[in-house]
C-alpha cells in the first residue's frame, strides 16, 4: 500500500468550501483505488478532519510522517497549516498538495525576488491567488474599455487582514497600477458574516469600479448583500474560494454579475470528454449519481489525479517515495491527467517554478430569481448560472515567482 494523508476541513471555519473539496479528493482517490491504484498498488488514504486548527494538523502530520508507514504524499488544505508544515514536508521530503494557493508556495528554491522561505515540496492545482487576481485585473482593464468607461477605473482590494485574503494584495495593486487603474486604499472586512454596510457606503461614495473580494464565501456574501442594499454599483471579483454555486445561492440576486476564477475548464453541467470520468468518480460517494458537485469538488479531483499520475511515474522510476513524486511533477508539460481531458486545466511545474497553472479561466455568476430551492435544481433551472467569460493567460514573469 501507498500511505497518503488527507487533511480536510469538514467541521471548521472553512468547511463550506472544505467539504466539497475534500469530497472531491476523497472520491478521486477511492476511484483510483477501484481502478487498481498506482500500477497495481493501492493507496491507503487516511482522511482526517482537522477542523481548520493548525495544531491538530501538525500533530496529525507527525503521526503520518513517522514510523514505518510514512506517507508518500499529503493532500492538505488551509493556509495556516500548509505554511506551518512547509518546513516539515521539505525536510521529510513529502510532497504536499494544498488548498492554499498562496503565491509564495510557488517558489521551490526560495530564491525568487519576493520569496523568503523555500517550499520545494509544496504543490497546488490552480492559479495562485496572485495570478488569478492578475488575470482578473487584465480582464477588468479590457472590460473597462469595452464598457466605454471614462477616465481611470478605480480598483480596491477587500478582505480581512489575514494571510489568505492578503496574499495577492500587493501583487494585485501593483499590476492594477501598471494597467492604468487608480488604486484606492484597501478595505478590510472580517472573515465572518456581519454587517458591512459601512464598507459598501464608502465603496459607493468613492465610486469604486472594480473590487477584489479576498475572503471566503460566508463574509463575501455579507458584503455583496450590503452593497446591493445601499446600491453600490461595483464589479466584484472573487477569489477561487470566494464564489461558487452555494455562495451564489445564499447571496441570491446580490451575487449576480460577480466574476471569479475557476480552476477547471467546465462546471458540473459542462460538456467535456473528461466529465464522464468525473461522473464516475462522483458515484464513489453518491451511488445514485444524482448529486450536483460544486466547483471545489472538481478542483479536488484534479488535484488528486495530478498526484496520482506523479505517483505512477514515480513507481516506474525508483518507487513511490517523496523525492520521486516530486521529480515526477516536473516530467510533463501542459499536463492534463488522463481521463479528465477538458476538465482539468493544463498545468506545468518545473524544478524552479511551482506555478502550475497560469491560465486563468474567468467566470461570471448569473443569478436570476428566487434561490430558495436546492443548488442542483437552481442550476438545472438556470436560476444560477456560472458563465465563462474568457481565459486570460497570465505571463510567467520571473519577478512574479513566489509572489
Amino acid at each position: 500500500d501507498i500511505p497518503v494523508g488527507h487533511l480536510a476541513d469538514q467541521s471548521g471555519a472553512t468547511s463550506d468550501v472544505g467539504v466539497p473539496y475534500a469530497q472531491g479528493v476523497a472520491d478521486a482517490l477511492a476511484y483510483i483505488n477501484s481502478k487498481g491504484g498506482i500500477n497495481g498498488t493501492k493507496l491507503a488514504v487516511d482522511t482526517v478532519d482537522y477542523g481548520y486548527q493548525a495544531p491538530r494538523a501538525i500533530s496529525q502530520y507527525k503521526k503520518w510522517s513517522s514510523g514505518s508507514d510514512k506517507i508518500a504524499a499529503l493532500q492538505g488544505w488551509g493556509t495556516a497549516d500548509t505554511e506551518a508544515l512547509t518546513g516539515f514536508v521539505g525536510k521529510d521530503e513529502i510532497p504536499a498538495y494544498s488548498g492554499s494557493y498562496s503565491g509564495h508556495l510557488t517558489d521551490p528554491t526560495g530564491k525568487g525576488p519576493h520569496g523568503s522561505k523555500p517550499a520545494p515540496y509544496n504543490f497546488f492545482y490552480g492559479p495562485s491567488y496572485s495570478d488569478a487576481l492578475r488575470g482578473m485585473l487584465m480582464w477588468a482593464a479590457e472590460d473597462w474599455k469595452k464598457q466605454g468607461g471614462q477616465g481611470k477605473p478605480k480598483y480596491v482590494h477587500m478582505g480581512a487582514n489575514h494571510p489568505y485574503p492578503n496574499a495577492p494584495k500587493e501583487a494585485g495593486e501593483q499590476l492594477a497600477k501598471e494597467l492604468g487603474f487608480e488604486v484606492l486604499p484597501a478595505v478590510q472586512f472580517a472573515l465572518t458574516p456581519g454587517d458591512y454596510t459601512a464598507q459598501c457606503l464608502t465603496l459607493k461614495q468613492s465610486g469604486v469600479n472594480y473590487a477584489y473580494l479576498g475572503n471566503t464565501a460566508g463574509s463575501n456574501i455579507s458584503v455583496l448583500k450590503a452593497c446591493q442594499t445601499v446600491g453600490a454599483k461595483v464589479q466584484f471579483m472573487g477569489n477561487v474560494w470566494g464564489m461558487d454555486e452555494n455562495a451564489a445561492k445564499a447571496a441570491g440576486a446580490a451575487a449576480d454579475g460577480v466574476v471569479f476564477p475557476m480552476r477547471t475548464a467546465v462546471t458540473w453541467n459542462g460538456d467535456a470528454p473528461g466529465m464522464k470520468t468525473l461522473k464516475d468518480i462522483s458515484k464513489m460517494s453518491d451511488a445514485a449519481g444524482t448529486a450536483y458537485r460544486p466547483v471545489h469538488y472538481m478542483a479536488g479531483v484534479c488535484t488528486a489525479f495530478i498526484m496520482k499520475e506523479a505517483m505512477d511515474w514515480a513507481s516506474k522510476n525508483g518507487g513511490v517515495a517523496g523525492p520521486n513524486i516530486r521529480k515526477a511533477m516536473y516530467q510533463k508539460k501542459d499536463w492534463v491527467p488522463a481521463g479528465l481531458e477538458g476538465v482539468c486545466v493544463p498545468s506545468t511545474w518545473t524544478e524552479n517554478d511551482h506555478r502550475g497553472m497560469t491560465a486563468v479561466n474567468i467566470y461570471r455568476a448569473k443569478v436570476g430569481g428566487d434561490t430558495g430551492a436546492g443548488v442542483d435544481e437552481l442550476v438545472k433551472a438556470g436560476t444560477i448560472k456560472l458563465e465563462k467569460l474568457t481565459t486570460v493567460d497570465v505571463p510567467r514573469k520571473p519577478e512574479w515567482l513566489g509572489w
Binding site: A54, I58, K62, A84, G87, K117, P163, Y164, N166
Partner: protein, 357 residues
C-alpha cells in the same frame, strides 16, 4: 499493604526547611525525579507523533502556566493570552532573523520583550476588575492581532516569518527527537521557577490580591504593582512558550493566534485546576490529548455498525467535535474544581486508606 513506605502515613518534619520543600514528601519528590528521567528516555521508544504531542504539551504548558499565574493565582481573567504567545513567537523569530541574536538567547529575550508588552496591556489592571479587565484583555487580543498583521518589519506581515531552528554549538535541535529535550528542559525549569515564585514573597502577594485585595493592600501589598506585575509574569511565560513554538515549527503566522486559541488556554487551566501548578500541566495534557483521543475513537467507530446506523460518513467529524465539547462539559460536571483537585483527593484517600475520614 506490600510497600507501606511508598505513602507514609505521617511525614515528620524536623525543621522549617523541610516543611517548605516543593514536594511534600520524599517519595513524591522521588516520583517526580523518576518521572523526568523516564521522560528523558522517551525519544528512544516513542514515535514522532507522540513526541510532537509531548512537545506541544511542553510549550503550551509553559504558556498556560503563565495564564494560570494571572487567572488562577492573581484572579485576573485574560482572554487574550494567545496574542502574547504569538508575540513571543514573533519576537524570538525577529530577534534572530533581524538582529542576529542566537536562538538560544532569543528565546529568553523574547520572553523579556513579551513581558514588556504584557506590562503595557496590564496597565488597565490597576483600575479594572473582573470581567471588565477580561474584556480589556480581549481588546489586547484584537489589537495585537491587528499589530501582527500590520508590522511587516516585525512579523513579516500577513505573510508570516520563518524562524530558524535552535542550534547550540552547531548542534541543531531540528527534529522532534531533539527538540523534545529543549521542550522538556524549558518546561521543568519554568515550572520550578513558578513553584519557587509562588512560595516566596511576591507569589504570596499575588494570591493575596486574588483572595482579598482590600486587606492585601492593608497588609502592605501595592495593588497596582502586583496586578500589573502579574500580567508581566504571565506574558513572560506566554512569550517563552511562544518562542519555543516558533522554533519548533520554524514558521510563524498571524493566523495561529486567535481568540479561539486564547479560549483554549483558558480551558487548559480551568480543567487542570485554577491556582495549581501541576494542574496546569495536567490540563494542558488533557486539552492536547482530547482531540487526538476523540479522533482515534471516531476512527474506530467509522465503518462499524454504529456508523451505518447513524449514517455518519463524513459527519463523523461533527461527531468528534461534539464529543470533544461533551467530554469538556461532563468533565466539569463531575470535576468542577479541575484535575488538580481530583488528584489531591486521590492522594488524601491513599493517605487515609484504609480508614475513611
Amino acid at each position: 499493604m506490600a510497600n507501606i513506605s511508598i505513602i507514609p502515613s505521617g511525614d515528620f518534619k524536623t525543621s522549617y526547611g523541610t516543611d517548605t520543600t516543593i514536594f511534600p514528601t520524599k517519595t513524591s519528590r522521588n516520583f517526580a525525579i523518576l518521572g523526568v528521567v523516564l521522560l528523558l528516555a522517551c525519544p528512544a521508544f516513542m514515535d514522532r507523533y507522540w513526541l510532537s504531542l509531548l512537545i506541544q504539551i511542553g510549550y503550551l504548558g509553559i504558556a498556560a502556566l503563565g495564564l494560570n499565574i494571572l487567572v488562577g493565582f492573581t484572579g485576573q481573567i485574560s482572554i487574550g493570552h494567545s496574542a502574547f504567545f504569538g508575540f513571543g513567537a514573533f519576537a524570538s523569530a525577529w530577534l534572530n532573523n533581524s538582529l542576529g541574536v542566537p536562538v538560544a538567547l532569543a528565546i529568553p529575550l523574547a520572553g523579556v520583550v513579551t513581558t514588556l508588552v504584557g506590562l503595557l496591556f496590564g496597565m488597565p489592571a490597576a483600575r479594572l476588575k473582573g470581567l471588565y479587565l477580561a474584556i480589556a484583555t480581549l481588546a489586547a487580543q484584537y489589537i495585537l492581532q491587528d499589530f501582527f498583521a500590520r508590522a511587516d518589519w516585525f512579523t513579516g506581515g500577513t505573510a508570516g516569518t520563518i524562524a530558524e531552528p535552535l542550534t547550540i554549538f552547531g548542534f541543531a535541535f531540528d527534529t522532534d527527537e531533539r527538540y523534545f529535550y529543549v521542550a522538556l528542559v524549558a518546561l521543568v525549569v519554568m515550572y520550578i521557577l513558578a513553584t519557587n515564585l509562588m512560595r516566596t514573597r511576591d507569589g504570596r502577594a499575588l494570591v493575596a490580591v486574588r483572595d482579598h485585595y482590600l486587606s492585601a493592600e492593608i497588609m502592605g501589598i501595592n495593588l497596582t504593582k502586583y496586578r500589573t506585575m502579574s500580567f508581566g509574569i504571565s506574558a513572560f511565560y506566554a512569550g517563552i512558550g511562544g518562542a519555543l513554538y516558533a522554533h519548533y515549527l520554524q514558521f510563524v503566522s498571524v493566523e495561529g493566534f486567535t481568540i479561539l486559541f486564547s479560549i483554549q488556554f483558558l480551558g487548559m487551566i480551568i480543567i487542570g485546576g485554577l491556582g495549581s501548578i501541576m494542574g496546569t500541566l495536567m490540563g494542558t495534557a488533557f486539552m492536547v490529548f482530547l482531540p487526538e483521543a476523540m479522533q482515534a475513537l471516531t476512527k474506530l467507530v467509522s465503518g462499524t455498525a454504529i456508523d451505518t446506523a447513524l449514517n455518519l460518513k463524513d459527519n463523523i467529524a461533527f461527531l468528534r467535535e461534539m464529543s470533544i465539547g461533551l467530554v469538556i462539559i461532563l468533565f466539569l460536571v463531575f470535576e468542577p474544581d479541575g484535575l488538580a483537585h481530583r488528584w489531591k483527593q486521590i492522594k488524601a484517600y491513599w493517605k487515609l486508606y484504609p480508614f475513611s475520614h
